[in-house]
Subunit: 392 residues, 4 copies
């Protein structure tokens, strides 16, 4: 960076913009980042709404010219929270302008886009420019702690992994049509939206890569009522119906290679029809010496089973991951005091900024984001090919 | 015993009679008792109903003459399942006739009765006659395992104990009057009925005795609708109301002495107003090195917390108590296959008969039953004395 | 039946023989079967061990001649608990002799055998002979209650089903070779042993049939230490290793047809590598109006989610299935008192005998057992064909 | 307020100062407060440490002169986070200077102090000055939702309440002496520190007041190792021991009056010896029509039991309190995304500021804080009087 502070431009100001803003605002209050950070500019398409977001989220200025913002010599960091279709253009422009880039997941809407972005990141890396993908759930302390347990060999050889991302907002077949169900707008359905998280978590925690997949995509409800005015979750339903063109649910089995899970089999599911589950990203890992269970709806907890304990004393142990010994937690509140969803973004900002300061490459890299994209692509290809096993 | 087999007379054939019958019928099928047992005679007041029970529960004969049955030279064991008010007379007659006696809890309806029974048991013991009180929850494998953990020092010095027995069948204030709410018939309310179990469990698991208590008894609903025909849980409600003369709920704090819990404080509750809890006998024990949690509604599980585990790896461990290493469980099914309420009676029969065969005194003894009676009495005296601390 | 009582011959006296004996012994004590039942003869191959089982389980006589026993004119019912390879011969002989047959699952070791048995059962049915397959988990009260909820439409249209049978006795790669891992002896691995239960439960509870499957079979550890003396779970390990020739784990996705789950997708898993899970048969069903969750390790509980409840008041409800309103439970203990694994066999005996008395066909029929066999076969074929979707 | 913005002075910058700062910083980003707020000055005793806190928490200026700060004409709001012994002086000075006051709990270290503060608050109220006590757990959405359920009559007549505050940082008897265990410095032990929260929650949720109490205080470990340098949780233990002069644990039973819990009995416990429980504020309320359960260690969840549901369908329902229909939650993240401990302070700031803007008195008032003080005092008097029932 050119100065004693990092000036940040955030592109996009929807749900992810709110979450990232909270991260930029809060991280310096709880972590020693090694540098001052400045919430310099928020960028959006609509001047009025962008200005409203500026005020609400606490950015210094607002802009509707993303290219000017991300190439501004006064900007050091570009944080991309805009829709997936815009990632490729913004990220490459920012990287070429020498800005460090934090890009929301999924990295892009296609493998080709992700490849272009990864090439740009690799080129920029040579001159010390850092890039990272926003798989924020890696920064849930219970997940980071699970990774430590795996790395310390506490699970032994991992044989099976199960990663489900369970939501239910489509369970009602009369729920309205939205842009998220239109492939031309959303790119993909539950697979890319939430399945991507499940893939990244498994690879991150086990240190293995998905090598081949056999998958199925399903659209249970193919037509949904159109809202009288535009698409959206509120409004008056009209009698007309729109065509759902993305997957409602994705199911796939994968063979893993490398790390503690070499040769393991993983089962994956991403669905919006899991009635009663709101944000149920669940992860179960079974190894020769132990096992772990995680559920994002109880994100401060990790269940750990130590299969090397004496016979009769084994059981899943509910660890409340709020001890100072746990990743990230020394910075927050006393033991037993929970953190929430948004804290993962403070952790993300912390890790990203500290890597920039240290001159190291943060993780997940664009290469890792590209790999997830390739897995998604392989699942789609397998599903189109009658669930045939497909190499990633 | 006079022969190669133990012939059993069971007095009473209500709920407890059904449970004990299942114990006598099943124990020899799963445990090596060291002797044949014979379900010789069931005794009741009404000839027709007793004969029906004989057929249903599988006893060889039925009788309405309890005294003849319990003094019959062909009988070796008397199992008393009749109402508490009858315990003193039947038990003493049986003991004086040289029969081994298993007596349902509570031992008696008063301290004086329990003292007389205990004296009779002590006298009979001299000539090898065995006696035991039916606190069957000691024989829940998870409870027996909890006791092993305490005895092995895994909890360190126990500081606090919480034992609640939570039921809800009186939560509805328009629930009908029954004989159980009439002190002249039932002797006592929730304190004696279910509180006695909580007291025995705490003393059994910790090895300590309650020494002094401060207690409160409460009757929330003092009048309840009388049934048009007699008292009972079914039938048509009449417009008349009956007077509730027993406690609805009992609350007491105790100081413990001896064992691993010397100097500890115990908090106790017995209630029939714990809406949503059906048979919630819960036990929590906190020590310097560990803690346990138990709930009878999940009776195959014990939660154990090891406070000596490494920092960051501590958590309540859900142990499914179905391993062959666990008390009683090697006799039953493979690991992970649950047992139920009635199994505690098979365990009770097993322990009782094996003690008879071995010529040893089984536990809980009548002395222990008398002690529980004294605790109940002290709680009542404390409650009558404005919760003043009362020596047991 | 020829008389006022049903005389039973039980073939086989291992784990299932013990469980069925407990069912025959206990069912008449808690249910009105409408007829006397008599535990007439237990049949085994080894005279000494069969006699020991006779004494332990309480059968009147023991025999080593299965054919004589199952064709004995004094026998009314044949209960087949012997290994799967023997089912076809014993069942057909018994049916042809006009005996009612209860046959343990899986119905047979192959589709061809199951077809022959089903044909025999169909022929016998014409003359009033009843036959049933022992999928005992249908008789877990929580499962029977779940089926009632589905049938009452409380889940609406079922979209997704997940049925996992999770055990962990192979998680240790140094666990010894046993006959269960040898295809020539066991026929199949986790797929047939435990996966069959998952298939039957899904079809039973939803009323739908699996129509097509895409599956994967995996053997994680292909060689295991041979015991110095024979194969078995105890004994001294030798330095030699045996070849594992069955599946360690099976994974499959199915499309369902019919019932409340027409068009639904089911995901299935059967594994012996789920570290920490001992007998984890879990069932989750998601519908447009509600959902249920079940875990055999907490078999007295059903989680129910009512998606039609007011916004803000929805949540998975932990129903303790011990109320008199719940299937089978009025016969047992007061509310909140749990039952265990073996009770499912009392329920099975009850339903089977009551059907015989009523002159009705019990369920699951041999046809249903054959169907499960065909599903297992289709999974194997799919797995051999690169997980291609395969019609059942 | 004199202007279009509220300028805040915060006195104290320890644990509570960090939490309140996060509240002041975050509340305006998620809620429409109706006015701008300004984090104007943080006040501490040590200039260097106060300046460090200023930078870390984001206040504009730092000061060591609390009186100057709280009487500064430019200040509108005083937020008191300093130790309890200082509350009386600071609060009265601020109120007399016409500042709105938010005062951390407990309101004061004695009833006399609390009375003086309450008189000052009452006097100031006449001229529109607002005051509030910081019982932040009222602002846990699950607690606020529980209160709504009680107020809507969903629990019917409340009969029993159980409120436990369970921590374990003293479970190890060799844990060091700290100022919190010295009565001259801390004023009180677990009773005032955490028991106060339990009292306030019960009164808040039920709408009833504690009327009389019977209590016991206990110090299990009376001497603890002194740190070589000063008192504190870190450092080297010396061989000398200090005297513990506060209660380790407090137990009390109370009769409630008013609201939905008129005539109910409440049982309370506050302890630092509940091994394995870190921040276990648990609340259970049982009524004629329903019940609720809450545990702060799972603060996003409320268990609700509807006793008016059909027989067989009743069960504790795990409601994840993250729906837009739930109190405070529409402002945060999508359904199923958790919030944490610190969010209660944003809610506190929101409610406090909105009340100031609306010209209404916020709750809990100083009168309510005084009442909690009186309950604590009555428990201490009862404990000193052999647990005699004591009027509050």
């Amino acid at each position: 960076m050119a100065s004693d502070r990092l000036r940040v431009a955030m592109v996009g100001h929807g749900f992810m913009g709110a979450a990232h803003s909270q991260g930029w605002r809060t991280a310096p209050r709880f972590f020693d980042l090694g540098v001052e950070t400045e919430m310099t500019v928020v960028v959006g398409r609509d001047a009025e709404r962008t200005e409203a977001s500026r005020r609400q989220y606490g950015w210094q200025t607002a802009s509707t010219d993303w290219r000017a913002a991300v190439t501004d010599p006064d900007i050091d960091v570009v944080d991309i929270c805009s829709p997936g279709s815009s990632h490729v253009e913004v990220a490459i422009a920012a990287l070429e302008a020498g800005k460090h880039v934090l890009c929301e997941k999924p990295l892009a809407n296609s493998v080709a886009e992700a490849e272009a972005m990864t090439a740009a990141a690799a080129a920029a890396r040579a001159s010390g420019v850092r890039s990272m993908v926003g798989f924020s759930y890696r920064r849930v302390p219970a997940i980071a702690f699970a990774k430590q347990l795996v790395e310390a060999g506490r699970l032994g050889t991992v044989r099976q992994v199960r990663a489900l991302y369970l939501q239910d907002w489509l369970a009602d077949p009369e729920g309205p049509m939205t842009w998220r169900l239109d492939k031309s707008l959303a790119g993909s359905g539950s697979l890319g939206d939430i399945g991507a998280h499940a893939i990244d978590l498994v690879e991150h925690v086990t240190g293995a890569s998905l090598a081949t997949v056999s998958g199925t995509l399903e659209t249970f409800v193919t037509e949904r009522p159109l809202m009288a005015e535009g698409v959206g979750l509120s409004g008056t339903a009209s009698s007309e119906r729109g065509q759902v063109t993305v997957d409602d649910a994705a199911f796939f089995t994968a063979r893993l290679a490398g790390g503690a899970a070499d040769g393991a089999i993983g089962t994956f599911e991403a669905t919006r029809y899991a009635t009663g589950r709101k944000n149920g990203l669940t992860l179960e890992i079974s190894g020769s010496d132990g096992a772990i269970q995680f559920d994002l709806e109880s994100m401060n907890e990790l269940r750990f089973y130590d299969a090397t304990a004496p016979a009769g004393e084994q059981g899943f142990q509910r660890i409340i991951v709020t001890e100072p010994e746990h990743p990230y937690m020394a910075a927050w509140w006393p033991t037993g005091h929970l953190i929430g969803y948004e804290h993962t973004f403070s952790h993300e900002v912390k890790d990203f900024v500290q890597a920039i300061v240290a001159g190291e490459d943060p993780s997940p890299s664009f290469e890792e984001g590209l790999h997830v994209q390739r897995v998604l692509d392989a699942v789609e290809r397998s599903a189109a090919d009658g669930s045939a096993w497909t190499v990633i």
